[in-house]
């Protein structure tokens, strides 16, 4: 498998990366979304701007209640990070379900969200967590960042620099539940849930869905149904049944639209139950 020819530019600073980008150029971080497409010659960029050497985009830190993850942080670094596991274990869990160990060792969170594959895991959990995608131009809430099939709010030459995730506070639990495509290991459906409990009641919740529709979305109808409930099996099932309402279900070899909708509710039930038990 041989990609088409392209020009390769390595940026050492963010400014340089921005100035090299735009037009027919693509940014290269870990390359685990782009290189497979290039090998099949489905993708033939004329220039690749390698941003992997930009030191500013690496590392995980915690600033108050916010966990800051540099765009070049690999999935395995997120999955094994003490900061992430302490502050938001559901994100570490989701990162650990992406691809396989080798892919997790190279793929980056910034590259992943910028690519916006509809079956990618991060978008679902990030939308649920109320994460913020920080770019060279601005900060965007995750739920507004993913706009369509491989489409994001990113403008031309704009680079994802950081993902900010609120740490789950007391009384709040989060979880991610995924139905794997048996061949590719992408998410047929992945549901992230964040539940805040007060006494035995669900005070508030956020539910993010990936894999089901052409982009990750917030299942607001389900959130409304769950909020104020007793988080019992019936309440969870009733809310989970509304998770598919938020998006137009995709259909492919691995799951019809109808089955995907069903999986949405199953994965949501599991994620909500787990999140509630962690709250």
């Amino acid at each position: 498998m041989q990609p088409s020819k392209f020009e390769y530019r390595k940026a050492s600073t963010l400014d340089e990366a921005v100035s090299l980008g735009g037009g027919e150029a693509d940014y290269l971080a870990g390359g685990h979304s782009l290189i497979p497409a290039m090998k099949l010659r489905l993708s033939e960029p004329s220039t690749l701007v390698d941003i992997s050497g930009i030191g500013d985009l690496k590392g995980i830190s915690r600033d108050g209640d916010t966990i800051k993850i540099g765009a070049l942080t690999t999935h395995s670094e997120v999955a094994s990070s003490g900061v992430v596991n302490d502050g938001c274990a559901a994100l570490a869990d989701a990162a650990g379900m992406i691809g396989d160990p080798q892919v997790r060792n190279r793929g980056t969170i910034g590259g992943n969200v910028a690519h916006a594959d509809p079956a990618s895991d991060y978008p679902g959990i990030l939308v649920a967590l109320g994460a913020t995608i920080v770019t060279t131009g601005r900060s965007t809430a995750a739920e507004d960042f993913f706009t369509g099939l491989f489409e994001t709010a990113l403008g031309e030459g704009e680079i994802v620099t950081e993902v900010q995730v609120p740490a789950t506070g007391d009384g709040t639990g989060a979880a991610y539940s995924k139905f794997f495509n048996p061949a590719s290991r992408y998410a047929v459906v992945g549901v992230g849930a964040v539940v805040t409990k007060s006494g035995g009641t669900c005070e508030s919740c956020r539910i993010g869905v990936t894999g089901a529709s052409d982009h990750a979305y917030r299942a607001t109808a389900a959130e409304e149904a769950l909020s104020g409930s007793d988080l019992g099996d019936e309440a969870i099932a009733a809310a989970a049944a509304k998770v598919a309402d938020g998006g137009e279900m995709m259909s492919d070899l691995s799951a019809s639209a109808q089955y995907r909708a069903h999986l949405c509710s199953v994965m949501a039930s599991r994620a909500i139950s787990e999140a509630a038990s962690r709250a």
């Binding site: 020819k5 290189i35 290039m38």
Partner: protein, 201 residues
């Protein structure tokens, strides 16, 4: 060496050469390392350098050259195999800066300056790595094609967790496909290597 041994050595080496129509990969030539990626005049060739199996080496590649092709074709280390083109099978797994990666999904220019270990670099001073030994002992291979990738994935697994459960091993082999063994003896080999490493520590 006795005459008998000399004669038999001669016989066996003579035969091996005859049967080995495919030459073994020579050791990579040590070359001077280049500190930074430099773009050559013609605009399509890049000089990269990295440490492969402990030896510094460099080469001129196109930007599009995959790391696996650099290792196989430029360095003539053909132990790393290519089994698919969509990053599913893991046959091309190598260790790059301590982590298992798929060398078919990495550009050679991305590996510039890194420390790479391939299957050829696993044994030390002629002693098999515990995982190599365990794959042999436990019959963890049949046709051998996925084996280098499986062993390197095993190295990655044990780097992360020196005492993994069966479930952890099976889960972390999700990036490697074997068509011959049904995985059972591969799992056993990784378990056994973990035990032997623990015993030695």
């Amino acid at each position: 060496m006795s005459l008998w041994e000399k004669i038999t050595n001669f016989l066996s080496s003579g035969y091996t050469e005859q049967a080995a129509a495919v030459p073994d990969a020579p050791e990579a030539e040590p070359e001077t390392s280049n500190d930074s990626l430099s773009r050559k005049e013609n605009g399509m060739s890049y000089t990269i350098s990295m440490t492969v199996n402990g030896t510094a080496c460099s080469g001129d590649v196109e930007a599009r050259t995959l790391l696996v092709d650099f290792v196989r074709d430029h360095l003539e280390l053909t132990g790393t195999n290519v089994g698919c083109d969509t990053s599913q099978c893991g046959s091309c797994t190598i260790i790059m800066d301590g982590k298992s990666v798929k060398s078919c999904t990495t550009l050679a220019v991305q590996a510039d300056g890194s420390d790479v270990t391939t299957i050829e670099g696993l044994a030390t001073n002629g002693d098999l790595h515990p995982l190599q030994q365990a794959f042999w002992d436990e019959h963890g291979l049949q046709c051998g094609f996925c084996t280098p990738g499986m062993i390197m994935a095993g190295v990655g697994i044990l780097n992360e967790n020196p005492d993994p459960s069966e479930e952890t091993i099976r889960h972390n082999l999700e990036g490697n496909i074997c068509r011959c063994t049904g995985y059972q003896n591969i799992v056993k080999a990784i378990q056994s290597a973990a035990q032997s490493t623990k015993g030695a520590a």
